[in-house]
Amino acid sequence: MSQATPLRDAHRALGARMVDFAGWELPLHYGSQVSEHHAARAAAGVFDVSHLALTEVSGRGARAFLRRLLANDIDRLGERMAGLYTCMLEESGCVLDDLIAYRLANDHYRVVSNAATAEPVRAQMRGVARAFPVRLQAQEGHVTLAVQGPQAMELGTAVAGSVIGPRYAAALAALKTFNATNEQGILSARTGYTGEDGFEIYLDAAMGRAFWQALIDAGAAPCGLGARDTLRMEAGLSLYGQDMDATVTPLHCGLKWTVAMDPPQRNFVGRRALEAVWEDPQLPSCRGLVLKGRGILRAGQQVLTPYGEGMVTSGGYSPTMSASIGLARLPKGRYAECEVEIRGAGVPCAVVKPPFVRRNRILVDSE
């Protein structure tokens, strides 16, 4: 049985091709995912991401609980209302999920994690929570929207003004990057998964439907999972289940920067395992690939470098660059070229540093 978001009928009315994603019925595209991709880069796109798992963490032990649970340190947020990108690890150091934890108040946080990992993540949270005075509450039936693109803030502010009210619109308009507001108990944060400006907002079902419709009426392009994937890949952002999973640590998948080893006395789950491999010279390096020959990069393809073999972890077509790009786990070393095996033949690739595209500008040499 697949779960539906409160916007399922709205997607169908827009002619969406619906697919199953981690047990959720979600739009893949509304006709052309390439057009949706361009709309999010050039103007504004809106994504229904209500499948993301929300867990409210509250109580006087909330902060200490998150400092034990998460590989990044929630204290990095200080007193700000903002989101922290982090991995949740197993004791083995392997990545159970990547997520954003929002600080709403001193003793109140919201954890936004992936749909596919919702069960193991909640089991881990319950287990760790036993040692802390903390309350965990899963949120169901809500609408989460991601509004992305150079016009996202302008359109979103106007819509927030009409659907929620002028006070909310003002709070949204004033948000700095990664910061959040919980004005009127409605969370939104200036963040996203596309490399464009924009925000994510968490609404109840009725207001979520109204917000979605108002955005569409105002000219935001409805965008599906297909465009979400090509946009995040161009932005060099990892996807759980592809670029990392429970077989690798954050050090193996380019997420070392999200692990807070300081202060050394903070004993988060997985810390000991990471300490053992922290300086390992054999750790792979996560790089971007731009295909120079014919074909399309796909996850799982073998990569041959001057320093040994690697693997494409995400691959596809970049609409902005009109080229095939990928993210890859490669041997460390200085090299700017490699070959990827496509249907039995080695096809040349340039090795680059992601992101490929940010704010609708190509940042890597795509010639």
């Binding site: 091709r17 893949l28 595209h29 052309s32 995912q33 390439v34 297909g226 090509t230 014919r294 074909g295 399309i296 796909r298 596809g316 077509y317 095939s324 249907r343």
Partner: protein
């Protein structure tokens, strides 16, 4: 509903086949197939002169979603391929039965064409 021209023959793998006056067959993918695939971004056509038996993988069509193999609908030799697809794979989405054709082959046995599905049978396949 996707378009199914009545003058063509079809395979269960969603290819269409048209017989030309000179006995050659032209092969492409159906409107249904291109709709299922989504935006097309890359086509690998066979080499002219290559020979295949029916069911051999002879081309690859890649969409934003995935790579799909194209099978030879009948045995024969490829005489020409649609070079325009190299730069414009979207021709397949825009005009699957016309400008989006993939390749032309000379069949080994002209009668093999008769074994393919007609438009009614292909229509039934899509509904089943």
């Amino acid at each position: 509903m996707s378009e199914i021209p009545t003058e063509l023959k079809f395979t269960s793998e969603h290819e269409w086949v048209r017989v030309e006056d000179d006995g050659a067959v032209v092969v492409g993918i159906t409107d249904y197939a291109q709709e299922q695939l989504g935006d097309l971004v890359f086509v690998e056509t066979p080499e002219a002169g290559a020979s295949f038996v029916a069911g051999d993988v002879c081309a690859v069509v890649e969409s934003v979603k995935a790579a799909s193999d194209i099978y030879a609908p009948v045995a024969g030799a490829v005489v020409s391929v649609n070079e325009a697809l190299q730069d414009s794979p979207e021709l397949i989405s825009d005009d699957p039965y016309g400008a989006g054709w993939l390749f032309r082959m000379t069949p080994e046995d002209p009668a093999e064409w008769e074994d393919l599905l007609d438009s009614d049978q292909y229509g039934e396949l899509l509904e089943s």
